[in-house]
């Protein structure tokens, strides 16, 4: 049956966002307030009784200050075909792997769209051929990943960045094929009894670059991203036992340096019907470990995350998530709060705040002591 292409369905959201910083940035080019608008429409069309479908999800943000944060991306542009025992995704898509909350070690297919949010949960679309088959003994996903996207970084006028800033025009690659290197990945996952288990392997261009100081064409000191070739094997496990979720993520990565291991292990415990109300309170604890210790590029190398998820279960879907990550060997700490609530029928209010304290001056991220912020977003869904 021939179906007109226009028979599909549009949905998505348009949002306005404001960010306020408590302190001046260390770089005078940085402002203390920042405004932006974004749009994330999605077009979906299916045919052959949904055995075939087409999804197109463009994204755009326009930012008042940061030209790097003003950006567009194709989050999804794919054809999906589903048969009885296998399915195929062809095009730009997004995939999530993992179980923990404080960081996502195992999740590696999509590049992080870091200008969107410091939490790293926003991702750029990734071109892929994805073949999946679901069997009694589990699900196998095979990925061919042509086309690499660089990580986005805030520009010189942006906040929540390193000092000096990362100049994304100066990126370089270990592999001579640079962005054209074809990566591959495979994953087996299975759910049985109380267990949800995934074992994955990725081979190709690492998503997180090594940042090194260099000089730009004007002679200013900037950080240049370098993308190495890596092999990463990952394991993610969740055991669900009544009100307990026990979680583990473990990776072993081999790149330019020595092979290293990193992991996140923890739990979420839910108190249902708190104090005879419909509210639920989830208590989270995760230990974050990186074998590289102080040399680890991120915030998390030997840290403890403690969090609370407060869900009101009301008609407005009100939720809060608060968490603190504490370094075990210093007093370095970051506190983060996220909250959301529906306003009216189809508008959502999101608030986010993050505070940093006692980051040692010797650290490459010492300037984050200045970066305490509150963000308010209002999104209209259609």
């Amino acid at each position: 049956m021939v179906t007109p292409l226009l028979a599909g369905e549009w949905s998505g959201n348009v949002a306005i966002e404001a960010r306020f910083f408590q302190h001046d940035g260390l770089d005078r080019r940085q402002d203390n307030s920042n405004y932006s608008v974004s749009a994330l429409p999605e077009y979906y069309h299916e045919w052959n009784e949904a055995a075939d479908s087409f999804t197109f999800t463009p994204f755009i943000r326009i930012d008042s200050d940061d030209s790097e944060r003003s950006h567009a991306d194709i989050r999804e542009l794919k054809w999906t075909h589903v048969s009885d025992s296998w399915e195929l995704d062809l095009g730009i898509s997004k995939v999530f792997w993992g179980v923990t909350e404080s960081q996502h070690l195992v999740d590696i297919i999509n590049q992080t769209d870091l200008v969107e949010n410091l939490d790293g949960e926003d991702k750029l679309g990734q071109p892929m051929v994805k073949f999946s088959t679901v069997r009694d003994w589990g699900t196998v996903d095979l990925f061919l990943l042509p086309g690499f996207s660089e990580r986005t970084f805030p520009g010189k006028n942006g906040r929540l960045r390193s000092i000096p800033y990362v100049d994304t025009d100066l990126e370089s690659y270990e592999d001579s094929q640079e962005q054209d290197h074809i990566d591959w990945a495979a994953r087996w996952s299975h759910s049985f009894d109380i267990w949800d288990i995934g074992v994955s392997h990725f081979s190709g261009t690492g998503r997180d670059p090594i940042l090194s100081p260099t000089r730009d064409t004007n002679g200013n000191v900037v950080l240049a991203p370098f993308y190495e070739q890596i092999d990463q094997t990952g394991l993610d496990v969740q055991a669900t036992i009544d009100e307990w979720l026990l979680k583990l993520e473990l990776i072993s990565r081999n790149g330019i340096g020595q092979r290293y291991t990193a992991s996140t292990v923890g739990f979420e415990y839910t108190l249902v019907g708190l104090f005879e109300t419909p509210h639920d309170l989830g208590l989270l604890a995760e230990y974050l470990y990186d074998e590289r210790g102080r040399n680890a590029p991120g915030f998390f190398e030997d840290d403890l995350f403690l969090g609370a998820r407060w869900v009101w279960n009301d008609a407005e879907n009100t939720e809060f998530l608060a968490g603190v990550i504490q370094d075990s060997s210093s007093s370095e700490r970051t506190f983060r709060l996220e909250g959301s609530r529906r306003v009216g029928q189809s508008t959502k209010l999101n608030i986010e705040a993050q505070f940093f304290s006692n980051i040692p001056d010797s650290s490459s991220r010492a300037n984050f002591n200045q970066e305490d912020f509150v963000q308010v977003e209002l999104a209209w869904y259609f």
């Binding site: 949905s11 959201n13 979906y44 299916e46 949904a50 479908s53 999906t80 589903v82 009885d84 025992s85 399915e87 997004k94 995939v95 999530f96 993992g98 179980v99 949960e121 999946s132 679901v134 699900t139 996952s189 759910s191 949800d196 969740q238 669900t240 009544d242 009100e243 307990w244 979720l245 979420e268 839910t270 249902v272 019907g273 419909p278 639920d280 279960n313 009301d314 008609a315 407005e316 879907n317 529906r342 029928q345 189809s346 508008t347 959502k348 999104a379 869904y381 259609f382």
Partner: protein
């Protein structure tokens, strides 16, 4: 011959009457209701929930649901949200088990993430409505113990029908209820009304079933249900429309992969 049968019946009748305790009769009613609702295979249906607060203000949720009847174990269900628009594409996969906790996975479309969630949450409200998760999950016989209470009329909304009133006690320690009283009509063994008693034993909610329709010449489904919370004054109307039975759904339509692309 005829005399013999009457004689046997006359001899047995009092024995049967004595043998059947209220617990046995209660269980027999539940088993019969389940037997009559066995064999439907699978179905898809649209759900519209309207939430009313105490002031009468309303908000609407719109979902699609698909279910596969379990043969040896409970049913499998996927519910996909369409409205409110901010949760569009969010989908919930449930494997009901006759014995033990159900398994549930939640798909969050913004992150493309499937999360296994604690089934302990069964007593919690479903999307802010007056329905708890456990009210919407498939009602397996094994999930309760039973006690027949009395015969009664089925109520104003089901005029002329007479009902068994059956008390059922949830087996699961995580249930939000001490007991439920179920009015089951004697004609077709359909639930007509359920009173829910909270953990303190006080009447919490009443669910009334309106406008039953029969599908495939056998299976009865109510088009409209009203859940009233007596303690908060809030209520939730649930409308089902577009039932489509035996659409050919299989086990492979109910896993984490199919959850991600459920529309």
């Amino acid at each position: 011959m005829r005399l013999n049968w009457i004689l046997i019946a006359a001899l047995l009748a009092p024995v049967l009457a004595i043998a059947e305790t209220p617990e046995e009769k209660g269980l027999a009613i539940a088993v019969e209701a389940d037997r009559r609702d066995t064999g439907w295979g699978d179905y898809t249906v649209n759900m519209t929930m309207t939430l009313f607060n105490k002031q009468g203000q309303s908000s609407e949720r719109n979902m699609k649901s698909r279910s596969l009847e379990g043969k040896d174990d409970g049913d499998k269900t996927i519910i996909v949200f369409n409205k409110p628009r901010d949760v569009k594409g969010t989908a919930l996969l449930t494997f009901t088990h006759k014995v033990g906790s159900d398994d549930q996975w939640l798909y969050l479309p913004a992150l493309k993430r499937v999360k296994r969630i604690a089934s302990r949450n069964k007593s919690g409200p479903f999307v802010g409505s007056e329905y708890a998760y456990e009210d919407l999950s498939s009602q397996e016989v094994e999930k309760y113990t039973y006690k027949y209470l009395k015969d009664d009329s089925c109520g104003e909304h089901a005029k002329g029908l007479s009902c068994f009133v059956n008390e059922r006690d949830p087996v699961d320690e995580f249930s939000g209820y001490t007991v439920q009283h179920v009015w089951v009509d004697k004609e077709e063994y359909r639930p007509q009304k359920i009173d829910f008693y909270d953990r303190k034993g006080t009447l919490l909610k009443s669910l009334t079933f309106y406008d039953y329709k029969q599908y495939l010449d056998q299976y009865w489904r109510a088009d409209r249900l009203m859940m009233i919370n007596h303690q908060t004054g809030k209520k939730t109307e649930l409308k089902w429309d577009g039932y489509n039975f035996r659409t050919g759904l299989k086990d492979s339509d109910f896993n984490k992969n199919s959850l991600k692309r459920a529309k």
